[in-house]
């Protein structure tokens, strides 16, 4: 049984947040679920099991998130408008989304290139690169911040100081989102059939045309999936930005830090509103990713 990877698992949302590792998207062959038969409908024993599991899940995830949503919406439009009308909050949201978009786009390109080099090239030390790419996954975010400060902070050995600048934010986000596109594109690229490319070459297509007409289109779903993951991660990022961004309200303060400021000031409703907005954006990304993955499933 080969467990080589074909595509990101459908329905499994944007992945890999601070410190999570998933370098190997799980195998999925689009097999019809033969094992589900009428006899497997939920019986009493399993019902109890389901009940207990759902209790834990509710206590841990559902109730707290519901509390956020309810707190955010119980003030009605009034609270929502008053929060969004605060210039600093608007600035934080705009900054967060724009930086995340920028980083996602950069990753779409750079991640694909890195995946290309990992798959299509072979040289000594390539194995080491693989580990290096996964480091941002496994590292605690506060440590990521410290790591970047070592080289790009006030006591930098190369004299570069990006603390308190948008460049610093961009850099931190690039760091934490590094593995996403690479790890979704890599397995797809590895699975590409040589025959199609060879046929095209024998028909006289240039390398560039092969790239443009054959390779890139087959990679697009994977690139999109990875980019969505990177985007979701970027808008959620907190730990690495605490030390680097400078967190100047209205200029270098991202949404997650704005929420923290509200929480520390006991403005829970406002915090919940901003959190709700972030959740909505993440939810949109989950749905988008689900759709993309289903398209991949159809392709087979």
């Amino acid at each position: 049984m080969s467990s080589t990877d074909t595509a990101p698992v459908p329905g499994s949302g944007p992945g890999g947040s601070p410190g999570g590792t998933d370098p190997r998207p799980a195998p999925r062959k689009g097999k019809a679920p033969r094992q589900l038969r009428a006899a497997d409908r939920l019986g009493l024993g399993s019902g109890l099991g389901l009940g207990l599991l759902m209790l834990w899940f509710s206590v841990l995830v559902l109730l707290p998130l519901a509390a956020v949503v309810v707190t955010a919406t119980e003030g009605g439009w009034g609270t929502f408008v008053s929060v969004v009308s605060e210039a600093d909050t608007r600035a934080a949201l705009v900054l967060t989304v724009s930086e995340a978009l920028g980083v996602a786009v950069v990753n779409a390109v750079v991640g694909t290139v890195i995946a290309w080099v990992l798959v299509r090239d072979d040289f000594r030390g390539k194995r080491l690169l693989e580990v290096v790419i996964d480091v941002p996954f496994a590292l605690p975010t506060i440590v990521a911040g410290l790591v970047l400060l070592s080289l790009y902070g006030p006591r930098s050995p190369i004299g570069v100081n990006v603390v308190g600048t948008r460049t610093g934010i961009f850099l931190a986000l690039l760091f934490v989102t590094l593995p996403f596109v690479v790890r979704t594109v890599q397995p797809v690229l590895a699975e590409l059939d040589a025959e199609v490319e060879e046929a095209a070459a024998s028909l006289g297509a240039s390398q560039f045309t092969i790239l443009r007409r054959i390779i890139i289109p087959s990679l697009v779903p994977a690139i999109t999936a990875g980019t969505s993951l990177a985007f979701a991660r970027a808008i959620s990022e907190f730990g690495s930005l605490v030390l680097i961004a400078g967190n100047k309200a209205g200029e270098t303060e991202v949404a997650s830090l704005r929420i923290l400021k509200y929480i520390e000031g006991d403005y829970y409703e406002k915090a919940a509103v901003v959190a709700f907005i972030l959740l909505l954006v993440s939810a949109l990304v989950i749905v988008a990713l689900d759709l993309v993955s289903r398209k991949v499933a159809i392709r087979g």
Binding site: G153, N161, G246, E264, G265, D266
Partner: protein, 339 residues
């Protein structure tokens, strides 16, 4: 499957399981839960951590303090006060502002007569100073220079930080002391706010921002300036001609560890205040502290008395009136920021 392969897997699983078991046992025995409940917990504002740590050491050498274990949490004064309100454990609090203690008194966490003692509840004091790069390249001499075009001020944010309020009131008070009218002083504050490039979350975060190059003049506590110099930074600081006396309250909580009163007494004693002075604070109360303060502009005369030393009580009518006038919702601070 070939046998050696199975054995290798078993080895891996076995070692992972053993590691898990050992670490779990290690945690349980290392007293993760039990001990820590008895620790005397100090919740303080951002800046006095080093001073309190030093006092703790000295306190543990006394008979009352022997064997007492401590735990400390430090951050922006307002935020820390609110976290105690919301359930964070504390035996003794040391905040930047009286209001942060009052908040807990109102919630019945601190006895109403906390400030009935000889120092009215104050445990540490300092003055507001201006911190600049080594050599004072901008030639800052006082508050008036802060509205110059080439000046970028770093200070803390009144929403979360105690330091911030002291700084703002000091700036305003200096204007009045210089003979300006209220309207002129208010205009100065508007200009002053325009020149603030960074509003940091706490007094310590303001220092960090300044260190990171965000701004070229830092308004901070004198003790914070001295501490950074003790830590090897080469900043200069100016004690302006007119500045505000900063008085930080300390209070014991209602159901605190029984050793709390001994602790508070020690903090106010000559031994305790000496440690504060060593870290750059000005002594409080009727004590005679005579030590050299490393890091001060003049270690043998570390605390020059400014020509005009303003106090909240005398020059601002007390904290209740000041908070009402300045920091309540929609009050003067917000109005001036908005202009």
């Amino acid at each position: 499957m070939p046998l050696p392969f199975v054995r290798r897997r078993a080895l891996l699983v076995g070692s992972l399981a053993t590691t898990l078991a050992v670490t779990l046992a290690g945690c349980a025995s290392a007293g993760g839960g039990g001990d820590s409940e008895d620790r005397f917990t100090i919740v303080g504002f951002a800046v006095p951590e080093a001073a309190n740590d030093a006092i703790i050491e000295k306190f543990q050498e006394t008979p009352e303090g022997e064997g007492v274990e401590f735990s400390g949490s430090y951050g922006a004064s307002g935020d820390q006060s609110r976290s105690v309100l919301n359930g964070a454990d504390a035996d003794y609090v040391h905040f930047s502002l009286e209001g942060d203690v009052t908040r807990l008194v109102d919630a019945d966490l601190i006895d109403a007569d906390w400030n009935a003692g000889p120092t009215q509840g104050i445990v540490s004091s300092s003055v507001a100073v201006l911190v600049v790069e080594e050599g004072n390249p901008l030639g800052i001499t006082g508050w008036d220079d802060l509205t110059r075009d080439d000046v970028q001020v770093v200070t803390a944010d009144p929403a979360s930080s105690g330091a911030a309020r002291w700084n703002i009131l000091a700036a305003y008070g200096a204007q009045i002391a210089a003979g300006r009218s209220e309207a002129e002083a208010e205009q100065y504050m508007v200009d002053f706010f325009d020149h603030v490039t960074t509003w940091a979350g706490s007094g310590r975060e303001a220092t960090e921002a300044f260190e990171n190059g965000l701004g070229n003049v830092l308004i901070s506590y004198e003790n914070e300036a001295i501490l950074t110099r003790q830590q090897g930074r080469t900043y200069d600081y100016i004690v302006p001609e007119s500045t505000l006396l900063i008085e930080n309250p300390g209070a014991i909580l209602e159901d605190a560890n029984p050793v709390a009163q001994d602790w508070l007494d020690f903090v106010l004693s000559e031994a305790g205040q000496t440690e504060f002075v060593r870290k750059g604070f000005r002594p409080v109360g009727d004590v005679d502290v005579d030590v050299e303060v490393e890091g001060a502009n003049d270690p043998s005369d570390p605390f020059p008395v400014p020509a005009n030393l303003l106090t909240i009580a005398d020059d601002f009518g007390g904290w209740s009136a000041t908070n009402e006038k300045w920091f309540d919702e929609g009050a003067l601070y917000e109005q001036l920021r908005a202009r």
